[in-house]
Symmetry: C2
Subunit: 119 residues, 2 copies
């Protein structure tokens, strides 16, 4: 299970040869599952709020203690949601001393938008 998605490598150069969009043959089961994982991560109100707060507080990242209160959720629950967002390739986690700081991975949300555009 470790390190599930990377978003960066999700569309690994569809065609190494050359150009032409080459008749996209409609998502196969495997691709669909990959991409669904990312949308699953976004499919919870509290996780959307976490992303929103982390994005708004862009300046070294937000620590869990800052995120627990506004959501009115227990600390373990927030940790759990954050883990899902990290595994989806949307957030980055950095431990500094006792605290863990979470920050948006640059471009990650744009990549998701790209997935939608190329469905």
């Amino acid at each position: 299970m470790e390190r599930m998605n990377s978003l960066q490598t999700l569309e690994p150069a569809v065609d190494a040869s050359c150009c032409v969009p080459s008749e996209r043959p409609a998502l196969n089961a495997e691709e669909a599952q990959q991409k669904a994982l990312i949308f699953k991560a976004l499919a919870d109100p509290n996780r959307l709020r976490l992303l929103s707060i982390v994005k708004a507080g862009e300046s070294g990242g937000s620590c869990v203690c800052d995120l627990t209160e506004p959501l009115d959720l227990g600390q373990p629950t927030v940790s759990h949601h954050l883990k899902i967002l990290v595994e989806a390739g949307l957030l980055h986690r950095e431990k500094r001393g006792t605290w863990a700081y979470y920050s948006l991975i640059p471009g990650a949300l744009d990549d998701v938008a790209g997935i939608l555009a190329t469905l």
Copy 2:
């Protein structure tokens, strides 16, 4: 429950007065729930494939019978997934004779991308 989302009216002119992005105060619980509904609709591999197939077959829409086989799912299950996509404001359903034709709502996926961009 009827007619849940419209996507078009989800961002109802954030600010009627004028300009300035006006310090977005991080998703509140209600907005988050609304938006999560849309991502929930996208958070299933088979629904992603349905969207993909419907999008690819843009020419009057795809009927359920065309969608059942490629997904290898029962007809009731496909109908169920399609309903969820319609309720999320992503697909349009049109009954012609005995058949039901589904088509992408123009701009709907772009609107979702917009939600991501303004998180």
